[in-house]
Symmetry: C2
């Protein structure tokens, strides 16, 4: 177990096994011919000393660190955490380690700093999940031309290697869904301007509306968080502008939106249809279940890692892969109705519930006191 003392090195193993360092190296790395008997002797020594190769030294000598870097926005948000999970999995099963470097805020400078930190560690490649304009992304790729970079949050047109979600397409799906339901007065809650993904989404929303001779009747900005979604929805309602459809930049903000609408007695989808983006684990279980655009982060993560792998193996694709999201229709969207309609429906629902809760189907709270029935 080698308690306390320094870790065993190749030389230690060699000494114990009575062979040279390089023989041990061959055995450990399984390359080069080694006599079966020698191999056994070496393996025994390895086990005895609990030898663990020093990847730092290995990296220095091999000029390959067997690690990749992941520069990402705040990992406590939904998308980055899902991505990190997927990427770490892919990297681990390829024998690579993942070094995470969080990019604090937007902009070229922040990204450069994060990638530089990774480059110092001699990562073999970098995955960058931070919003960057085409020009900025190309600048980053230029500055770090000696380490393969795959971008994950840049415009599809950027001349860099990229593994992206087709945000534009997803937005089109969402907007089209509302339009096809018959909504004509549609508002949106989008993410911060700096976010490239968000730009594509706005574009998609607006293009669809324009196609149908419509425009966004109102818009508010959030910061991806549920609380910001709540605030934005409140602001939208306070503006006095009327709308029956609401496009929301992500599902977390939609949680806040649903709450704001509920608080004001507005029915979803009766009064207002709400559609989110992401399809988080919660989305199907919200009240009402959220119609949204599903992004498959595990697939994206594996695809991005694969892209990087191809770069490392010297194919130089310089391409962009787009992963298409899909629409998931649930109960938070429906054709628009008049206010009268809505209250009628509410009254009906109420009646229904009262009927259902009658003798035939007593609620739990009653069972607790059988004597009272």
């Amino acid at each position: 177990m080698n308690i306390g003392g320094k870790a065993a090195t190749l030389a230690d193993v060699a000494a114990l096994a009575g062979v040279s360092q390089q023989t041990v190296s061959r055995v450990v790395n399984n390359q080069g011919p080694v006599a079966a008997r020698t191999r056994v002797r070496v393996m025994e020594a390895v086990g005895q000393l609990n030898y663990v190769p020093n990847r730092l030294a290995q990296g220095l000598a091999r000029q390959r660190s067997q690690s990749i870097g992941f520069a990402t926005n705040d990992i406590s948000l939904h998308a980055p955490s899902q991505l990190t999970s997927a990427i770490e999995g892919a990297a681990r099963s390829a024998g690579l380690s993942l070094i995470v470097s969080i990019v604090p805020g937007y902009g070229l400078g922040n990204v450069t700093q994060a990638v530089r930190a990774l480059k110092e560690r001699q990562v073999d490649g970098v995955l960058i999940n931070a919003s960057l304009s085409s020009a900025d992304a190309e600048e980053v790729a230029r500055r770090f031309s000696d380490v393969p970079c795959v971008f994950m949050d840049v415009p599809p047109g950027a001349a860099v290697n990229a593994a992206l979600l087709d945000q534009y397409h997803g937005a089109v799906l969402a907007a089209r869904h509302l339009v096809e339901l018959g909504h004509t007065r549609i508002a949106c809650i989008h993410a911060p301007e700096g976010a490239v993904a968000e730009h594509s989404r706005m574009q998609g929303w607006q293009d669809v509306l324009r196609e149908h001779g419509l425009v966004l009747v109102a818009q508010e900005e959030g910061d991806w968080s549920p609380a910001s979604g709540y605030r934005a929805a409140v602001a939208l309602l306070a503006s006095g502008l009327s709308f029956t459809g609401l496009l929301v930049g992500n599902d977390q903000m939609a949680v806040g939106v649903l709450r704001a609408l509920w608080e004001r007695g507005l029915n979803v989808p009766g009064d207002i249809s709400v559609i989110g983006y992401d399809d988080t684990a919660e989305s199907a279980l919200l009240i009402p279940p959220l119609t949204t655009v599903r992004q498959d982060f595990p697939v994206l993560g594996r695809r991005a890692f694969g892209h990087l792998g191809a770069l490392l193996d010297d194919h130089d694709p310089q391409t962009t892969t787009l992963t298409r999201p899909e629409l998931v229709v649930r109960a938070s969207t429906a054709p628009p109705r008049s206010g009268e309609h809505v209250r009628l429906q509410e009254a009906l629902q109420l009646l229904q519930r009262h009927v259902r809760e009658g003798p035939g189907h007593p609620p739990l709270a009653q069972q607790e006191r059988p004597g009272e029935r």
Copy 2:
């Protein structure tokens, strides 16, 4: 910009500046006396070659990699992602890199494997956020005695360095809250048995109930996910056992629980009070706002990192720090009431809403067609 070619080394800088390698080293690391003029010349060369120190080589020479490892459960879950964010932040501002290694599943073997991968990279210390029994944690600490380990998900009694959340205390707060509201029939939805944190919580819940002469009337197991919370709640309801209070292992499962109850027309907190655990960003905005136990992950992350730092600086505390969660009372809990009471209340709310929606305060859906008014 050094396009294409190999990265510049200390020697390259030294050659360009016309000094020795070691002088450059001194300048870069800001230690040892260097003439002002020489320093300037060196800095210029550094800038010109875009020199970035090689941390691998540095680590080899210094016997310190300036990186720490984080072995954690699936990072796509709430707690691990929040923790990762906090720890990365603390590490970055201390000039250390974070290497993440995900522990696939529970058990000593998985953790050992993950930590071994980190040790290979010569991390200066390891933070371990994976469930481990006292014995297993001690075994891990023994196996990796040459690298400081701080555990984050072990029983408080374990003889290892640990930075923990006081899960027991949090559970006590939750259970006590329900009991003090007057609930006597309480059920729970807990996390997988393997989870150490969960054991403490169950203990806390049960101890409080026992104190008051009560027992859990029913229990179901979930896997932290909203969907599992939904399933567990459905199973609980189907069991026919009656209860008015429901303790849930985390807020994500509580989302599914709220949905299941809503679907069946059960009022929260009227029919059933629900209390979660974590206080996620969504919790305050659920319908109804969730009463829960707040865990401060950023504080825990910083504290764990601080603990590791102390270990690295050779103080050997061998202690456990407990971070206390706090109760956040919102609208999902209330004193238990009879079924009659509940429906009366619902009717009142309905009336209230109709009054509110009258001429003085028209809902948005109406404003959209002013002609109709």
